[in-house]
């Protein structure tokens, strides 16, 4: 019970920051705007999707995945900054549950993510993306994206605790973007060389993008020769999320308890 109370207090801390820095909310909206224009119209005009003429229908789920992926870098930077500035020391000296700090961080990322996803979906609707499979599957797709964002926030929290230096974390943050892109988020994997295709298809974010497409009824279903995670995308996404949480929840809690030794 205390874990929940502490976790919620720390979630509030992260959310309150946003209230005082509404600019952050603006930048959350700014990035997707640039990306939707860039991919939807600049690159998109040159990318062909097998069996569909509408690249933007294919692209938007990839964009949602990209949005979920930002949790990793933002949690990493936030946590490293708290660590560098001694906020973590104060938290450690309090009788709070050891898991509540990462819990609060990931909780806030989850809530911010819901906002970011709404923004992206509105953009999607404007540029011609539609969910086609009814309310149930649409909600399942949204739920899956939020679960993944939440999961990646735990990974980022662990990295932030492990890195400790705010500037190192800030320098590493942009690297998470290519990691998102080495996947089928924006281009199908069919045309890639075998080795790269294998990497892309086993990238957890590919499973998530494919699952999202299938739940929203968007084009881009991989062929039968694709790797297992892509032919069973929803199951694979849930497995990935479960696996990452099983690893990074205890790791983050341990790291938080021990950091500063």
């Amino acid at each position: 019970m205390n874990v929940i109370i502490d976790g919620w207090a720390l979630t509030q801390r992260n959310l309150l920051r946003l209230r005082h820095e509404p600019g952050t909310l603006l930048t959350i909206m700014l990035m997707p705007t640039v990306f939707v224009v860039l991919f939807g119209f600049v690159f998109g005009s040159a990318i062909g999707i097998p069996g569909s003429s509408n690249y933007r229908e294919y692209m938007m789920p990839g964009m949602f995945v990209l949005g979920a992926g930002t949790a990793l870098s933002s949690a990493m930077v936030d946590v490293a900054m708290d660590q560098a500035r001694g906020v973590m020391d104060r938290l450690r000296s309090l009788p709070t549950n050891r898991v509540s700090v990462p819990l609060g961080q990931s909780g806030a990322e989850g809530i911010i993510g819901a906002y970011g996803l709404v923004v992206l979906m509105v953009y999607g609707l404007i540029v011609g993306w539609r969910p086609h499979n009814g309310i149930g599957q649409t909600l399942a797709g949204i739920g899956l994206l939020l679960l993944f964002r939440y999961t990646l926030a735990w990974v980022g929290t662990y990295l932030g605790l492990a890195i400790r230096s705010a500037s190192t974390a800030a320098n590493l943050a942009p690297l998470t973007l290519p990691l998102t892109m080495v996947s089928n988020a924006f281009v199908p994997t069919d045309g890639m060389p075998f080795w790269l295709r294998t990497i892309c298809e086993w990238n957890p974010l590919s499973a998530l993008a494919t699952a999202t497409r299938s739940l929203f009824g968007n084009p881009g279903a991989p062929g039968p020769d694709a790797a297992w995670p892509l032919t069973h995308p929803v199951a694979a996404s849930l497995l990935w999320a479960g696996l990452l949480l099983a690893i990074f929840v205890p790791l983050s809690a341990r790291r938080f308890a021990r950091a500063g030794l």
Binding site: A9, R17, R85, V87, D89, R90, S93, L94, P95, L261
Partner: protein, 323 residues
């Protein structure tokens, strides 16, 4: 040990090859300010970090408020407060928000957390600025806010790690007043400071550590009496030097040093009184222009104690504790 609220026995801490604490023994009674002095790197901060459960000891034992820091860190955290030299609050939240959240995390109910925060803001003169972002606070205000955050739970033991470093005189005085009030309320304060005057003003017991162990302990007055005072005499002309020197040597048992017409001599035990010195000099026929007894500062104590132990490989015999 039963009377000590902070107790350490052979406490050791090693970071890789660096030994920060080589075997620290402390026994601090409750309800006072205990000043921990030592040169940079002597192990002050490491001690505070271990006692406040931020760092695990490599060996030995540390007990705070009756709980072992290694075995029951959760219990220790319930009885301590920590205010450091680093700003440990969230700059992007207002003072009130910071306190509300840290109050919740200190396991105060939300209403109690709020009431306690208001009470402390009022008492520390920050109530008017409670809705400003902590990031906009001046150094002194931040330090006070940090102190408030560590007092939300009314801790039995408060660790103040260089609480006034970088503050102006007025802010420093305010923090000092607060510390005195806290002790009057029954709190035990472990204070580290760069300012020896601060320790002199606040602490009723002082421990000097160097190379990771305690090398002297006592009240500021006791520590000072160990290195004694200086008697300074200026004679009218050098003709009077010999007479005056003879008197001073007889009174103090120490050989005076001469510089021109100026004579200085150390007086440890007993320190003769000023009238006595004047009388005896007068009787000897020495004509003097100026005479005075200079009390040692804690700085002198610190220098004489830590100046000795330069080689960490060869720890000198620790002087017997004065207390």
């Amino acid at each position: 040990m039963e009377e000590s609220i902070i107790y350490t026995k052979a406490l050791r801490k090693q970071y890789g090859d660096v030994v920060a604490l080589t075997g620290l023994d402390l026994a601090i009674p409750p309800n006072l300010v205990y000043g921990l002095l030592g040169p940079n790197g002597a192990g002050k901060s490491t001690t505070v970090r271990i006692l406040s459960t931020l760092t695990r000891p490599s060996g030995g034992q540390a007990v705070v408020g009756g709980f072992d820091v290694a075995r029951e860190p959760g219990e220790v955290r319930k009885v301590i407060g920590l205010a450091g030299q680093d700003a440990t609050l969230d700059d992007k939240l207002t003072a009130r928000e910071n306190l509300r959240i840290f109050g919740r995390l200190s396991r105060l109910g939300s209403r109690r957390a709020r009431r306690r925060a208001e009470e402390l803001l009022e008492r520390f003169g920050l109530a008017h600025a409670g809705n400003r972002l902590a990031g906009t606070y001046s150094g002194g205000m931040r330090r006070r806010l940090d102190l408030i955050a560590s007092l939300l739970r009314a801790p039995a033991v408060l660790f103040l790690d260089e609480p006034t470093t970088g503050l102006d005189v007025r802010s420093r005085m305010e923090i000092w007043d607060t510390v005195r009030e806290l002790v009057a309320d029954g709190t035990t304060v472990l204070l580290t400071s760069q300012y020896l005057e601060e320790v002199d003003q606040l602490a009723s017991a002082v421990g000097v550590i160097d190379h990771g162990q305690l090398i002297a302990e006592g009240s500021p007055a006791q520590l000072k009496s160990r290195i004694g005072s200086h008697i300074d005499v200026v004679v009218e002309s050098t003709d009077h030097l010999l007479n005056a020197m003879a008197v001073l040597e007889r009174l103090t048992g120490h050989r005076p040093e001469v510089d021109g017409s100026h004579i200085a001599v150390a007086a440890v035990d007993p320190v003769p009184s000023l009238p006595q010195i004047v009388r005896e000099l007068d009787a000897s026929g020495a004509v003097i222009r100026d005479v005075g007894i200079r009390e040692p500062s804690l700085d002198d104590v610190f220098l004489s104690l830590t100046g000795k132990t330069v080689d960490p490989a060869k720890p000198v015999e620790a002087p017997a504790a004065v207390a």
